[in-house]
Subunit: 393 residues, 2 copies
Amino acid sequence: MKIAIMGFGTVGTGVEEILYKKRNSLLKRGFDINIDKILIKNINKKRNPLNKKLTFTDDFDEILNSDVDTVIDVTSSLEETYERIVKLMSAGKNIVTANKAVVSKYFEELNELSIKKNVFFSYEASVAGAIPTIHPIMEEVFINDIFEISGILNGTSNYILSKMEIEGLTYDEVLKEAQELGYAEADPTADVYGFDTMRKIRILSSIVYNSKINEDDIFTFGIANIKISDFDFAKALGYSIRLLGKSKLKEGKINISVIPTFVKDDFFAKSFESTNAIEILGENFKKYELKGPGAGKLETADAIIRDLLRILAKREIKTFYDSANNYVVENNLEKNYYVRCEKLSKELKSLISSEKIIGEEHHIIAKKVNLNKLIDVIDDFDKIFIAEIEEEI
Amino acid sequence: MKIAIMGFGTVGTGVEEILYKKRNSLLKRGFDINIDKILIKNINKKRNPLNKKLTFTDDFDEILNSDVDTVIDVTSSLEETYERIVKLMSAGKNIVTANKAVVSKYFEELNELSIKKNVFFSYEASVAGAIPTIHPIMEEVFINDIFEISGILNGTSNYILSKMEIEGLTYDEVLKEAQELGYAEADPTADVYGFDTMRKIRILSSIVYNSKINEDDIFTFGIANIKISDFDFAKALGYSIRLLGKSKLKEGKINISVIPTFVKDDFFAKSFESTNAIEILGENFKKYELKGPGAGKLETADAIIRDLLRILAKREIKTFYDSANNYVVENNLEKNYYVRCEKLSKELKSLISSEKIIGEEHHIIAKKVNLNKLIDVIDDFDKIFIAEIEEEI
């Protein structure tokens, strides 16, 4: 069983490490997996794989034209990787990817291509690391109507939020510390503005609703504007604040958003540091919950190799999405929201249920409205902070 | 695809309900599943399946001699079902079972038989209902060293404990209420004395350690002796009490027990009513946690049908256990324990770290000892209550 790997960063080295260390266990179970080639950008950079005989290349065509059946993608680029995955699938190669940006943006297209080319397209590692999330919900879709899925899906923002909450530090202080410790990227945009969470809730929702969801249709508001005063306000009401990706199918409409949320429920409120936490609600069970590390070298590699073994043993689920459910994406459910802003528009004023003014800033609890209506009355998203308020159960 | 079902109680009707309601969804994905026959005890009892054309029989041989490839077992008897499963497997039929008593008692034998007869033997439904537990850890075993697994695995005892805790009712009051509401069986022995939890931790541990674990070697102490004073004592120290099944592999020894536990960690402490909650610790991830309903008609049926689809699509994992790891079962790790008793033996006295006497009863925190040592100094398990005290992290 020869495979190739594209990328040899943190996760790539994790994949190599597990395959190397577990070689005997895998052989015993019939998996004689050999890494044929690893594609890297800089061929001159010193690499330290455990298997010293590994072959590296910076020429994608060597992977494309090789006889490997399956390619593991652990790159982080978007368009380049997308194009390469298309070429690889078109050449009949199965893909295992951890690249959530690619999976989210090109979900329908890549799944259709996998059907057309009769190859496997697996991406368990794109959401929530080693926590078994995607594969189990794929199995559920055949026999269950899952109607709601929500979660803390981005470790970096959760790290920042929980540190701010517990240590009373400012957003900038925690971000800087997180960057120094390697928990946050030098460019944290995708994490703190919610785009990473958006991609993950898009992927999960597309699976469970079998309906096309455009990234652009997902309202996405991150944590970059949060202040300690927001935590103080939330705390006074008994809440924590967590960044949630959430989607709910009701009466043919998909409510989907990424938004900081005032949470009381322990499951989310007591998720600290870079933990991911996911709730899945369906017809056949009230709710089940998953929690654990959402990223990390071995965590993500573990999910990748589970996909790989399923493909090699022909145990993987074939793509079955056809987006046959033409659900409308529309945030029509009414919720309470928190808004903190300096300037109050007339329209926003009309939505106030209660208000507290601290210094220059208005801390508002808005009346129950749907998210679209709230968005309409916000003038400048750069200068405000908003949060959904979790409903009391 | 013709299947048979043994048993048509709550879970059996749930299986029929899902297969009936999801028929179109299943057909669309290539699963044309027909229930050939359902084995029941009392053929004269009126049944109300959704599919009115179903055939019932009270003759096991009709199932055994039928041409169905796969039989779903939702019976609750132990020896009779075991014998029937052996006959069915020997006749080349795959088994999907929810019967944890059979799976636990005959784990090695039935898995070996499944290898010998080249049939699938699947039992996701035997632990934690619809929560994806068993299948994901089977996948982990190939590539990860899981070294600890523990959980609230019995809904009935958790219902009793959390009701006692929140409403301040006695054990007998809550048990009676639970029986009236159908949450507890008329004979609750297996639940409240911990045998059900023991079976589940035995199954999970056998999978992850690939080592034989005899039921008799698992120290099992349930909640039947618990009093409100135990909760009061725990609460004063900041703890809740939950019944945990737990196992930990350390230095070639498996520490495994079922024991009430003083828990502070929110994951267990905030698990209420009949919730199940499972923690899995391994080399490739620090820990992941699963929580949800551990039983119920559709919940258990959902897990059964996931197994069934995997088998029908030949996506199921073939049995790979060979008990090659000859780990010793020995509770050698030292812990703090709580003991409440009327009579103090000299040996128990020597283990006291702190003590509180209320009325006739001693409430003791014992020094750190291993469980075997503690068991040695207890005279009469019928008259005491013991709990392990969760370590501070």
